[in-house]
Symmetry: C2
Subunit: 335 residues, 2 copies
């Protein structure tokens, strides 16, 4: 099995949980051995395995081990600890650098990877945005990931999944970073009017069915203001800038997986209604004057709701409503 | 440029048209030279070029050239002559053998190939059917091709394109082979209750939009009864078996391209209405008792119409109607 593609084994994960639950404490090798049901030698091996992925332990004789440092890099063990999921992210591929996590995930999908397969890279050299745009994905302070979904649904449902992913990411950001993030239709996450996350849902279908979808998620997590590209500072921000603190990327990724698994479960059993309601509650474009650039031209009006397919309903100046299936929304300043 | 990927040049095509319009006649090199506006040497070169692709010419001094044989293999020149299109098939890749024309076309699509790009193979070693099934694609007597479409439409429109392709293929088969072919929902082509063609529309989308679709078309054209796999003879047939004659595969492919270009043009300007009407006129499952295997279970009833999205409307025994988005239809025998 590829070193980076690990389904985490129980001892390693349970070991880490012990140390995290008793932060700052020494735990004796004997106690660990007893609690995990493994030999003292095995404990020592597990500790060294975690050390190799960036965790730091102090070992003091007659006291035991103490966790003194965590990896600044994304670590599989950390991420799996934050994700209390049974499907999403359970098949994990962590990469130092890749062209695009979307392409990597697609390759895995074509090879038959299971639903919930997650690709995360520290750095993307050809990060993909919507409509052929590129996505700036430098190493270290961002979260660049792609999640494979295999819903048994018609192709026309893909727009609903796009909105579902926006809800999952927005809720995770709000909960982990404690910031007032909102959604701009269909799936940009904004804080104080500036974008902090973009989502790209790529779908592959056969006749009328979805074969698989890959949700690409890019979040500017810990960039300082100076790290954002100069020409984008007016329209982009990071969770660190907005929250005033460094955010644990593993916790954020894990929380996104938790939210996705919950919302996806609701969606598959209850349909789009509850997702639409959650989306509308987080929307920053509803009840606002908007300008929408659509393939058919510019539309100006007031965004009023989502329809059952996930399209945006806009009320025009003459009181009529129109349905926007696709487009770029700008919320107009109030005069 | 790849030898197989040719945008046909005018002289070669016009030369072939001359010989076909005056079948059996000798045409002097001088006349050809005059009509095509090229030198006698160039005429000789064009004739040799066609000879290389399988055309046979008799050359008699003082009489000129006479077309005496055509390639039994698919030839680009022949196909382009049959296709009076401006987009569909104009970028053509003819292959002797490939794994699957779908995969080949997808590769070209990802490299930016234009709408209408067509891949045809004499033989597929891993021909793809619907739902992961394989498609038997031996060399010589079938038509195995994939057509790239790049409509600027929402993903939910893909089912309509599936039906459009079925109409195009069915109309072409009826016109070229003179047989009473019909469509079983959504896109199988049947003659006398046996399948002669399958269509597979693979779509790739981004958020709510189609990025591209690849229509895979497989037709059992000139197989004799003995050439069909034994276990499939009860449910499969070929155009040759049904029409009692060998069918010109280039003419069939060209006619499919013509039909597709016309119907696609109508669809993009007028919407799905006219396509649905054409589909319904060719349907063999409407107003018949049907059993449909759907992802949600079996549905029995009478197929009554298409809805605006391309779904099949089935009237149940209790008089209520249900909408089938996806499934395998069997027309039940009347008792």
């Amino acid at each position: 099995m590829d070193k980076n593609q690990i389904e985490l084994q129980q001892p390693e994960q349970r070991l880490l949980r012990m140390f995290k639950e008793r932060a700052g404490e020494y735990i004796s090798g004997e106690e660990i051995s007893r609690q995990l049901g493994i030999s003292r030698t095995a404990v020592w091996k597990q500790i060294n395995k975690l050390r190799e992925t960036g965790y730091e332990f102090e070992a003091v004789s007659r006291k035991g081990y103490r966790l003194t440092g965590e990896p600044s890099r994304l670590a599989a063990a950390d991420l799996m600890l934050a994700a209390r999921t049974s499907v999403m992210g359970r098949n994990l591929k962590l990469l130092d650098v890749t062209g695009s996590t979307q392409d990597e995930a697609r390759l895995l999908a074509e090879q038959g990877a299971p639903e919930g397969t997650l690709v995360i890279a520290e750095e993307q050299t050809k990060g993909k945005g919507r409509m052929g745009r590129s996505w700036y994905s430098p190493p270290g302070n961002g979260l660049w990931m792609s999640l494979l979904l295999r819903p048994n649904l018609p192709l026309g449902s893909a727009p609903q999944l796009t909105l579902l992913m926006a809800v999952a990411v927005c809720r995770a950001i709000r909960s982990v970073a404690g910031v007032d993030a909102g959604i701009k239709w269909p799936n940009d996450i904004l804080i104080s009017g500036r974008k902090t996350s973009g989502i790209l849902l790529e779908s592959t279908g056969e006749d009328e069915r979805i074969r698989y979808c890959i949700a690409g998620i890019g979040i500017d997590v810990n960039m300082a203001a100076g790290e954002l590209p100069e020409d984008l500072r007016a329209i982009m921000t990071s969770l660190r800038i907005e929250s005033g603190q460094k955010i644990n990327r593993s916790e954020l990724a894990g929380t996104i997986l938790n939210e996705t698994e919950q919302l996806y479960g609701i969606y598959m059993t209850e349909g789009f209604g509850p997702i639409a309601a959650l989306w509308e509650a987080l929307s920053i474009s509803l009840d606002k004057p908007v300008t929408v650039q659509t393939p058919a031209g510019e539309v100006k009006g007031t965004a009023v709701s989502l329809d059952s397919s996930g399209a945006l309903i806009v009320r025009l100046a003459d009181g009529q409503t129109t349905k926007i299936i696709s487009g770029d929304v700008t919320v107009d300043p109030l005069n």
